[in-house]
Structure formats: structure tokens, C-alpha cells
């Protein structure tokens, strides 16, 4: 399986310079607007998109059919793709945390503030975002195996769009219902701290496991 993972990482390495340039621009933009979550979200979206790109390349060169002629079974083939997703999103999470730290903390110190250590960068939010994008990736992977990369990529974008609509729509509805942000914060703060960690981790893990099972079932019944 290591070979299958390496194959994807070597493939992505070919685009590393372009992705780094785009990300550098995003990070710079974040510094200018003093909003780290912009760069972090971009990184996590990019992580999802890179996984889809590796699948797209596999499709283009019929790699999976070829891989099955080697000492590789379908379980390994599917598992390797999930490992690639975890590695990519994990890498994006670490980069996101580092970027958030730099964007939020460093400018304050550069600006002469002596309280730079009291960062306002909410790393918990980044971790929750990571869980969210892992969940979105988990929804996308079985669709890729079932419908092909291009259709799945469209659905993936629709899911992201749907999430954005859900968040902003929810906030708007809350406002219309007379709930202010303060009220919402009070409700959210009433949730025990442990729950904050447990819910996204639980949802993400469940999504990963269900997704892996579904992908494997689809791949097993596929005519390559």
C-alpha cells in the first residue's frame, strides 16, 4: 500500500510549486485582512481538491486496472486513497495552524504590541474545520468511485456551497427570529466543552468509516 500512497504524493509533487505560489498569495491576503480563517479554509478546500485530482489522474491513465495486475487487492487500493486523504488534510491542518499563528500572532508583535502572546487565533476552529472537510471528503470519495471524478467534483462543490448556505442561512434565520449573536454565543457556550470535541471527532470518524465501507463495496462491484 505504501507504493500506492507514494504514487499519489509523487504525482502531487509535480504541482507543488504552483500550489505553494497560490497558497503564498492566500496567506499574504490573510495577513492584509488580518483573517487567518480565510487561508486555513482555503488550505482545507485545497486538500480535498488534491485528493480528487489524484483520483482524476488514476482515471485518466486507467491506473486502478493496472494496479490490480500487481500484488495489490481492491482493499489496498481503496485504503491507500483514504490514507492519502488523511495525510493531505492532516498536512493542510498543520500548515493551517502554523499559518493562523503567523497571521494572527506575528503581526501584533510586529505592530509593537507587547501582548502578542495572548493570541486571538482560535486553533479549535481550525481543527473543527479540518473535521468538517474530512467529512466532506468522506462523502465525496464513494461518489467518485460510483460516478467518476468529474461528476463527483461537481457534487463536492455543491456540498461545499450547501454548507456555506446552511451556515449563513442559519445565522440569517436566527437573526430574523430575534436571536442576536450574543444569544447564539450563550447557547453555544452552554454546550459542555467535551461535547465540542466529541461531536466533530465522532461525526468525522463515523463518516470516514461509513465512507470507506461504501467505497470498498462500490469498487468490488466495479468492472475495470
Amino acid at each position: 500500500m505504501k507504493g500506492l500512497v507514494l504514487k499519489d504524493l509523487y504525482y502531487l509533487r509535480g504541482f507543488a510549486r504552483q500550489y505553494l505560489l497560490v497558497f503564498a498569495f492566500m496567506a499574504l491576503w490573510s495577513v492584509l485582512i488580518k483573517n487567518a480563517s480565510f487561508a486555513v479554509t482555503y488550505l482545507l478546500v485545497m486538500g480535498n481538491s488534491l485528493v480528487l485530482s489524484t483520483l482524476s489522474m488514476d482515471d485518466a491513465v486507467s491506473f486502478n486496472r493496472f494496479a490490480l495486475t500487481m500484488p495489490v487487492n481492491m482493499k489496498m487500493l481503496v485504503k491507500a486513497k483514504y490514507v492519502v486523504m488523511v495525510l493531505l488534510e492532516g498536512g493542510m491542518l498543520l500548515t493551517g495552524l502554523l499559518t493562523g499563528f503567523l497571521v494572527e500572532v506575528m503581526p501584533r508583535r510586529i505592530n509593537g504590541g507587547s501582548r502578542w502572546i495572548y493570541t486571538s487565533f482560535e486553533w479549535e476552529g481550525t481543527v473543527v474545520l479540518f473535521m468538517l472537510f474530512m467529512t466532506v471528503g468522506s462523502v465525496s470519495l464513494p461518489m467518485v468511485y460510483k460516478l467518476g471524478v468529474e461528476k463527483a467534483r461537481n457534487i463536492h462543490m455543491m456540498i461545499l456551497l450547501g454548507l456555506a448556505v446552511l451556515v449563513f442561512g442559519g445565522l440569517k434565520l436566527a437573526q430574523m427570529a430575534g436571536l442576536s449573536m450574543e444569544n447564539l454565543n450563550e447557547i453555544l457556550e452552554a454546550i459542555p466543552e467535551g461535547m465540542w470535541a466529541a461531536i466533530p471527532v465522532g461525526v468525522c470518524m463515523a463518516a470516514l468509516m461509513i465512507s470507506y465501507g461504501a467505497s470498498l463495496r462500490i469498487v468490488r462491484n466495479k468492472e475495470w
Binding site: Y10, G14, L68, T69, P71, V72
Partner: protein, 311 residues
């Protein structure tokens, strides 16, 4: 003689195509050419043989390993959970299956983590022999170079059986000839086997020991190539002379404005039956008994099969 491949009554049904009751054996140490028109069922047979697609019926064995009809829990079609026997099979499809952005220098790193028997030095030797630069990306290679890369990969582990699905199609004659030389070298010790599917019959004629012909999902024959080329013949003669050819040796016929061309499967039987004298007796028209090419055999067999089906 042991068989590297055994296929018995292989049947695979699709909505618009059926691979029907195909059986053949490939002796170890031989080169077997698998010929047939596009869509005849060559690739389906190979995919079934490799356990990549489930089949409806039949038994298959590759290097002594039985291939299952249905997939097991790991999504694999072979009976054994151990995948290591696949180390001994090298497969080359009609396209290069490595991502276009991949540099050649990374391929060995990938493959040595897939094949336990991967031989990096052997791979580098092949790349040097084929003049494939390590620093180039796959997308920068020509079609011939890509095919050589795929062959280098297939030969750089402990492969005893090489399966090639239309690997030489689209290549120029010089590269095809180089590739055929590699295959000749591969089987030299008598323990390695090549199963080569192609619709380029001249390649098969150059290298194969046996020829298998498949048409519309049905196997028409498997014959020794030498037998085929020396025993079969084409009689070009007048219609009344063609009537003198014993029916049991006729494979197919083609009628044209000048007379009839008949593919026969036994030149000796024709001569022994006194055809020459009898033919001169019934007509003044000149006649000839020509040697056949694999292409002739393919065309006559296919035409005869179509006519039989049509009836």
C-alpha cells in the same frame, strides 16, 4: 509440458457482448499470439484471466493459481489470499498507466514498495537500454518510449509470464521490432512465457509459437504457428476447379471476378488427392497454391464464421 495459463469454458456476459465458452492453454516457455478484430473479446479474456473482472462461468489458472469466478472479501478473484504469486506476472496494456506528471526516477521508488521482488538495478538497466531519461516526466515521452517504460516495469520484477494487451499497436515498425526482440530474449530460457494480444498479425507471425484466433467472443482456433503457415494454403483457381477440393479441408472461400480463392487447412492432403491433375483436367485456367499469412487465415476464418452464423 506444463501450462502457464489454462482457461476452460470461460464465459462473461455483458449487455451487448458475450465472451462465449472460451478454452485454451498456453504452454510454459512459448509465445502465444492472441489475434482478433477490435472488440472480438481479447481484452475481456485478459481481464478475466487476471481476475480483474468477475466472470459468469469457467475455470482459469495462471502459473498454477486458480482464479475465482466471483470476488472474495478483499475484492480479489483468486482463491488464495496471498497475492505474492502476482509478482510473477508482468502486464502491459495498450497505454502507459503511470500518471503523466510522474518523473521516471520516482517509478522505481513506487514499484519497490509494491513488488517484493522489484529489482531496481534491472529497471535502471532497462531504462538505459531503452534510452529513457530518468529526469523526464511520463508526459514528455513519445508513445514508443511510454510502451518501453511499461515493458521495463513489467520485466523488472520476478515475472515469469508476460501478458500484453495490444501493447504494440500504434507503434512504428522499428520500435515494434525492438520490442519483439525483448520478448524473444525473455523466453530464451524456456521458463518464461509471453501471451501477446494484437490485431497486428505481422508481429504475431514474427514471434509467436502458437496463434489463438477469437472472433465475436468465440474462440475459432488455437494452432501452432508453424503448422498453420506450412500446412494451410490458399488455392487460387477457377470455380469448377474449386469444386474438386475436398470439403473437409476447406476453411473458407472468396469468390471474385477472376475465380475463387479457397483457404485449405491441409496442403498435403490436397496434393495427395491428386488435385493438380484433376484441376488441369476440368479447366484450362491456370491455378496456384499459395502460402498463407496469419492475416489470410484470420480473414478467411472470420468470414467463414460469419457465414455460418448468418446461416
Amino acid at each position: 509440458m506444463q501450462n502457464a495459463v489454462t482457461v476452460k469454458n470461460l464465459t462473461k456476459r455483458y449487455e451487448d457482448f458475450t465472451l462465449n465458452d472460451v478454452s485454451f492453454q498456453i504452454p510454459t516457455g512459448s509465445v502465444v499470439g492472441f489475434v482478433g478484430e477490435n472488440g472480438a473479446g481479447k481484452s475481456t479474456t485478459i481481464l478475466a484471466l487476471l481476475g480483474i473482472i468477475p466472470v459468469d462461468a469457467g475455470e482459469m489458472e495462471l502459473l498454477g493459481h486458480r482464479i475465482r469466478k466471483k470476488r472474495n472479501a478483499s475484492g480479489r478473484d483468486d482463491v488464495s489470499a496471498d497475492e505474492s504469486w502476482r509478482e510473477q506476472i508482468g502486464v502491459v496494456f495498450d497505454e502507459c498507466n503511470f500518471s503523466t506528471e510522474l518523473k521516471l526516477k520516482f517509478i522505481s521508488g513506487i514499484m519497490k514498495n509494491i513488488y517484493r521482488t522489484w529489482d531496481e538495478n534491472k529497471f535502471l538497466d532497462y531504462l538505459q537500454r531503452f534510452e529513457l531519461p530518468l529526469n523526464k516526466k511520463v508526459k514528455e515521452l513519445s508513445k514508443g518510449m511510454k510502451m518501453k517504460l511499461s515493458i521495463a516495469v513489467a520485466l523488472s520484477h520476478d515475472s515469469r509470464l508476460l501478458i500484453l494487451d495490444e501493447a504494440t499497436s500504434g507503434l512504428d515498425p522499428i520500435i515494434r521490432s525492438e520490442i519483439l526482440d525483448i520478448f524473444r530474449g525473455f523466453i530464451e530460457d524456456g521458463e518464461h512465457t509471453v501471451f501477446l494480444s494484437s490485431h497486428i498479425t505481422s508481429d504475431i507471425e514474427k514471434i509467436a509459437d502458437y496463434v489463438i484466433l477469437i472472433h465475436k467472443g468465440r474462440l475459432l482456433f488455437m494452432e501452432s504457428k508453424d503448422e498453420l503457415l506450412y500446412r494451410y494454403g490458399i488455392v487460387r483457381c477457377a470455380r469448377e476447379q474449386a469444386e474438386l477440393i475436398p470439403r473437409e479441408i476447406i476453411v473458407g472461400r472468396e469468390v471474385n471476378g477472376f475465380g475463387v480463392s479457397v483457404l485449405i487447412k491441409d496442403k498435403d492432403a490436397l496434393m495427395a488427392g491428386g488435385f493438380m491433375d484433376k484441376a488441369r483436367g476440368v479447366s484450362e485456367s491456370p491455378f496456384a497454391l499459395d502460402r498463407v499469412s496469419i492475416e489470410d487465415v484470420l480473414l478467411y476464418f472470420v468470414k467463414a464464421a460469419d457465414e455460418t452464423q448468418g446461416k
